[in-house]
């Protein structure tokens, strides 16, 4: 709505109209959905459908349902966490490329692990080696999730970093961001070493799976900061 008003304002013959337009753009409502609130989220995967009880199914019959997103599908190989991770690797809206890069990284993880598996002759030691890249990815993300985070609280003119508990979705977000960031460090190095982003992501996933590496270090550092600022913890609820 406000967007339409803005566009109209642009059509008027005002002085500095573009400056006005730009300054007023903040008024645009963000995250505006084309679907009214009575629309419910879609069920796109057979596994989700199996979990529903008959009552829930009956209820859904008479509801308006949003269409699934372009990257949500009914494949047996679909993984919702991986779907989210693709968005963090993506640059400039090129989602197909991001997905391809992650697939490459998974393949590299698998190549390393499978070779290790086949070279190991002892059956008991073989069982310990994780070879499923998706399992490694889940474990790595789980290991990278922080428990505490700091939030700025202004008190008496001083901004304190106050430790707070992290909700799960934010912990996952931080884990994704750190994984991608630590793989992206020194990115143009490719021309020297021939090492691609997917190579470093694969290495980072394997490291994080063993609780090692740069990403885990970032998590530990955040935890250390929280530990150091333990004294301010009560600022979270006192005024």
């Amino acid at each position: 709505m406000s967007f339409i008003i803005l566009r109209r304002a642009l059509q008027l013959n005002l002085p500095h109209k573009h400056a006005i337009y730009n300054s007023l753009r903040v008024l645009q409502i963000k995250n505006y959905s084309v679907y009214p609130p009575n629309y419910v989220e879609p069920i796109y995967h057979p596994d989700q459908l199996k979990k529903l009880s008959s009552d829930e199914r009956k209820e859904l019959l008479h509801k308006n349902i949003k269409p699934p997103l372009q990257n949500q599908n009914a494949s047996v190989f679909f993984d919702p966490i991986l779907r989210k991770f693709v968005n963090h690797v993506m640059k400039g809206g090129n989602k197909a490329m991001a997905r391809q890069i992650i697939e490459e990284a998974f393949e590299k993880v698998k190549r390393i692990q499978i070779r290790k598996f086949h070279l190991e002759k002892d059956v008991k030691k073989q069982e310990v080696i994780l070879t499923n890249p998706l399992e490694i990815f889940h474990k790595a993300v789980e290991n990278c999730k922080p428990v505490l985070d700091v939030t700025p609280v202004k008190k008496g003119g001083v901004v304190y970093k106050v430790p707070v508990a992290v909700p799960d979705h934010k912990a996952q977000f931080l884990a994704f961001r750190w994984l991608v960031d630590s793989s992206r460090e020194h990115e143009p190095r490719r021309s020297h070493t021939g090492e691609y982003f997917s190579d470093r992501l694969a290495k980072e996933l394997l490291d994080a799976c063993d609780n090692l590496g740069k990403t885990i270090k970032k998590k530990v550092e955040l935890h250390k900061l929280c530990e150091a600022n333990k004294a301010y913890a009560h600022y979270r609820w006192t005024k």
Binding site: S75, V76, F77, I102, E103, E104, F106, E107, K110, R111, I114, R115, F117, H118, L119, T131, N132, P133, L134, E135
Partner: protein, 407 residues
């Protein structure tokens, strides 16, 4: 005439497709196990060892003994043999990577190989050399079939003249310089020396046993000359050491081999992958420069694929990926890919179609991947997962490998 042959080819192709469609009922790999007497023996042996019998594998490691009973089963090459045959190329890069990960070289026995094998067994070697041309879509297994054939040739006692991929020197040559002996042509010294090394490693046993000698004197430089009666191995070693003369040397070496084959001392198998690359313009990788000059290394291989000699068999493959304009190539059929010149050079030949996996082959490939842990996703081992993979790859082996990559 050529057009008629093309139409005929298309017709045969279509008949083949229809036949396959009619007989496309999934044939479980297990059924063939009961038919196979060799595997029965192994089965009884294995039972004593209390091992699990894998239906997608065969214990017959000698391609000479492969028959219809081994269809759609994987055989594993001994490690030393695959090192000897394919150390300097011969397996496609992706397939070699996969073998490295699986720590074994396993190839599926397929119909095109058996077809070639049956022809070779029935050839009258006193007649001019028979030429066969493999064709088919990329990813359907032409190169792997040729690798299988190289193993067959080695075990059957053929001298191998094997070019793993023509475009390694026609398009991606390491170094090119004007030829001294043939004015107006270009030498690819490093690639030629590399090919000599490949030839030497593949034919070690035969070269030692036969102890071939040169038939006439050769002169390469002012100080580098060979008299008649010098061991051929010495000639090869010289070529490897002095890459400058390697291109000329390959030509002389292959001429000697042709002469010896004519005399009936041994049989020769010429295997060339991506043969149509020899008819593409010669390209230097740096700045993608197309040269009008022809490549000197292409000449001896063209000479080897003629029919003016006997005791030899020539198996080549034509590939869309070896075409000079691969993204715009319109067809996978030999007439299009070879062009007029190439067609006239190879005519008459036996066309061999390498088709996509049938149901049994696809099942066996997926089972093999599950066994080697290339398919890791728990759903990939279920009925639905296998159905999804088979539908997505559409019987293309390369696509299946790529699809299973991140799983």
């Amino acid at each position: 005439m050529a057009l008629r042959i093309l139409q005929n080819e298309v017709l045969i192709h279509h008949i083949g497709v229809v036949q396959r469609m009619l007989s496309s009922a999934p044939r479980p790999a297990v059924v063939t196990d009961t038919v196979n007497p060799v595997n029965k023996e192994h089965a009884s042996q294995e039972k004593t060892k209390s091992k699990i019998i894998k239906t997608f594998r065969t214990e017959e490691i000698d391609p000479v003994k492969h028959t219809e009973n081994h269809l759609a089963r994987f055989y594993t090459m001994p490690e030393e043999l695959s090192q000897k045959l394919f150390r300097h190329g011969g397996l496609t890069r992706k397939f070699a990577d996969l073998c490295q990960v699986f720590t074994e070289t396993s190839i599926m026995v397929r119909q095109p190989f058996l077809e070639i094998k049956s022809y070779i067994e029935r050839i009258n070697f006193s007649k001019p050399a028979v030429r066969m041309v493999l064709y088919g879509k990329p990813g359907h297994g032409k190169s792997v079939t040729l690798s299988h054939l190289v193993n067959y040739g080695h075990n059957a006692g053929f001298l191998l003249v094997h070019v793993p991929w023509v475009n390694t020197f026609m398009r991606r040559c390491k170094d090119a310089s004007p030829s001294e002996s043939k004015p107006g042509m270009m030498d690819v010294p490093i690639n030629a020396a590399a090919w000599l090394v490949h030839f030497r490693t593949q034919n070690q046993h035969l070269l030692q046993k036969l102890n071939l000698m040169t038939s006439k004197p050769y002169k390469y430089g002012p100080r580098d000359s060979f008299e008649a009666g010098v061991p051929i191995t010495e000639l090869i070693d010289f070529g490897v050491g002095r890459a400058k003369y390697a291109c000329d040397l390959v030509e002389d070496l292959l001429r000697e081999i042709k002469a010896y084959s004519n005399s009936g001392l041994f049989r020769t198998m010429v295997v060339i992958d991506g043969f149509n690359g020899l008819y593409a313009p010669f390209v230097i990788t740096e700045r993608r420069k197309v040269l009008n000059a022809r490549c000197t290394l292409a000449m001896p291989f063209l000479e080897m694929s003629r029919f003016d000699w006997c005791n030899g068999v020539v198996v080549v493959s034509v590939d869309r990926l070896a075409h000079h304009d691969m993204f715009n190539a319109e067809s996978d059929l030999p007439l299009y890919l070879l062009g007029k010149e190439g067609w006239e050079h190879l005519d008459p030949f036996i066309p061999i179609h390498v088709d996509k996996y049938n149901a049994a082959e696809l099942n066996s490939a997926i089972e093999y991947y599950i066994d080697r842990r290339w398919i890791q996703h728990p759903s990939g081992k279920t009925k639905e997962g296998i159905a999804e993979l088979s539908a997505l790859c559409a019987g293309n082996g390369h696509d299946l490998m790529k699809l299973c990559g991140p799983l």
